[in-house]
């Protein structure tokens, strides 16, 4: 045990009023967030430039999430033929890169919806990568907090019941060559390794879906690289253009070598 040297004390006390001045300026907080984003962007994208865009990608999220462990995020990409992949970044989550999704030939990248965990009030960035290799970003600020440490269920065993079960809901009847929207639900606790078992006080070991691959027949719809920020029982809404023979096939795997495969038949064609 040692007492902080007097010199240091003087320095600390001297520094306090200056700090206060800085903190009182709200513009500085915006600068803070810009610096944070720069750090993340360098870590994820290296020196690639991220251009602002009003048209290539739009991000919709509730300004105030009802449940920070289940916040829906919608990505809208109207010029869908230009989009190769999309990154979702939750700036102030300890692991900011939530998802990277790469579209395949059967995809209709116009719309994508995910549910994520949000740790604290934060900027959320979506970055679209175009087929010619450029990056375009957009941002929203969301008010949600506590989603990363929120317990999944009363017990870990309960949370793991039926792990890997999948359902798929098609929102419209199929018509040849026309895009169709589908929602995939996977039962999985998606333990992020940050949730404490309230009884044992131990952290539940991480176990989350980190790879998801969805195809229509032999044609890829998308590949998803996911992170601990995806919610328990991941839900993803996407769109694709059915051409040729189905079915829709999903392959999911998690970080503990779990692997699940399931096929879904399309609903009957509507005329």
């Amino acid at each position: 045990m040692k007492i902080l040297p007097l010199v240091l004390w003087v320095a600390l006390i001297g520094a306090a009023p200056a700090q206060k001045l800085v903190a009182a300026d709200s513009a500085t907080t915006d600068d803070d967030r810009a610096v944070r984003w720069k750090t993340i962007a360098e870590s994820v994208f290296g020196d690639r430039k991220i251009e602002p865009t009003e048209t290539l990608i739009r991000l919709d999220a509730p300004q105030r999430a009802q449940d920070a462990a289940l916040m829906p995020v919608t990505l809208i990409m109207p010029e869908k033929d230009k989009i190769k992949s999309v990154y979702l970044v939750i700036d102030d989550n300890p692991s900011p890169l939530a998802a990277h999704l790469t579209f395949g030939p059967a995809a209709d990248p116009g719309l994508l919806q995910l549910r994520v965990r949000v740790d604290t009030y934060t900027n959320v960035h979506a970055v679209a990568e175009t087929r010619d290799g450029r990056l375009f970003g957009t941002v929203v600020f969301v008010k949600a907090s506590g989603g990363c440490s929120a317990p999944v269920a009363s017990t870990d065993e309960e949370a793991m019941k039926g792990m890997g079960e999948m359902r798929m809901k098609f929102t419209q009847g199929a018509a040849p060559g026309k895009p169709i929207q589908a929602t995939l639900m996977i039962r999985h606790p998606n333990f992020n390794g940050m949730q404490m078992n309230q009884l044992t006080r131990n952290y539940t070991p991480p176990r989350y879906v980190d790879k998801l691959s969805v195809s229509y027949g032999d044609s890829k719809i998308f590949d998803l690289d996911a992170d601990i920020s995806l919610s328990t029982n991941p839900v993803i809404t996407f769109s694709f253009v059915p051409a040729g023979q189905g079915p829709v096939k999903v392959v999911a795997s998690d970080t503990m070598n779990g692997r699940w495969e399931q096929s879904f038949d399309m609903p009957a064609t509507t005329n």
């Binding site: 700090q19 803070d32 692991s95 907090s145 390794g193 940050m194 992170d227």
Partner: protein
């Protein structure tokens, strides 16, 4: 509203511990009674409305107190790095708090290793320059017993101007700007048990 809370809390202080539970039980049935000592159950959960010996404060009360330069003590948890976290992914935890707060993650845990508890008391003594009347605002996230426990430790140690801000960092960030704070260097210099 906060004025009422302060009045009731002050009355509780004057009348001593005996009235503490009675005050806590006076409200709705869902009220959580104050434990006699530190809370050693699950850290996340509904907390009492009161902390005997301390004043429960809201955002307005903290802002009114700012002129007195209180010690802002954040005991909110630090993000736990998941085991086997992929090395190629960015792990960049950030903690935002009330500007100028001193952050001692986990200082409200109970039981706390004897050495850690001693270090906590020593740091508070240093930060208050040994003045037990210095206002201290202790907080965490909402529904966090850590904040309550840290306040309880200070009250028990004889600090006379302890404020507990149960709304915590969420209550602050909902209305005010936060700044990134790093853990108190002395507090994290010794390995967390």
């Amino acid at each position: 509203m906060h004025a009422l809370i302060e009045t009731v809390a002050k009355a509780a202080i004057i009348l001593g511990f005996a009235l503490g539970p009675a005050v806590a039980n006076a409200g709705a049935a869902a009220d959580i009674p104050e434990p006699q000592g530190l809370w050693i159950g699950a850290m996340h959960g509904q907390t009492p409305k009161m902390l005997n010996g301390a004043v429960v404060v809201d955002l307005a009360a903290i802002e009114a107190l700012m002129a007195e330069k209180p010690l802002l003590l954040d005991v909110g948890p630090a993000a736990h790095k998941p085991q086997d976290f992929p090395s190629d992914r960015p792990w960049l935890p950030i903690h935002r708090s009330i500007p100028n707060a001193i952050w001692m993650p986990g200082a409200g845990a109970a039981p706390l290793d004897a050495g850690r508890e001693e270090l906590f008391y020593r740091r508070i003594e240093e930060l208050t320059h040994g003045d037990k009347t210095k206002p201290i605002v202790v907080f965490c996230r909402p529904e966090c017993w850590g904040g309550w426990n840290a306040g309880k430790r200070l009250v028990t140690k004889g600090y006379t101007s302890v404020r507990w801000f149960p709304a915590g960092t969420d209550g602050w960030q909902d209305k005010r700007e936060t700044t990134e704070v790093k853990p108190d260097t002395e507090w994290i210099a010794e390995p967390t048990r």
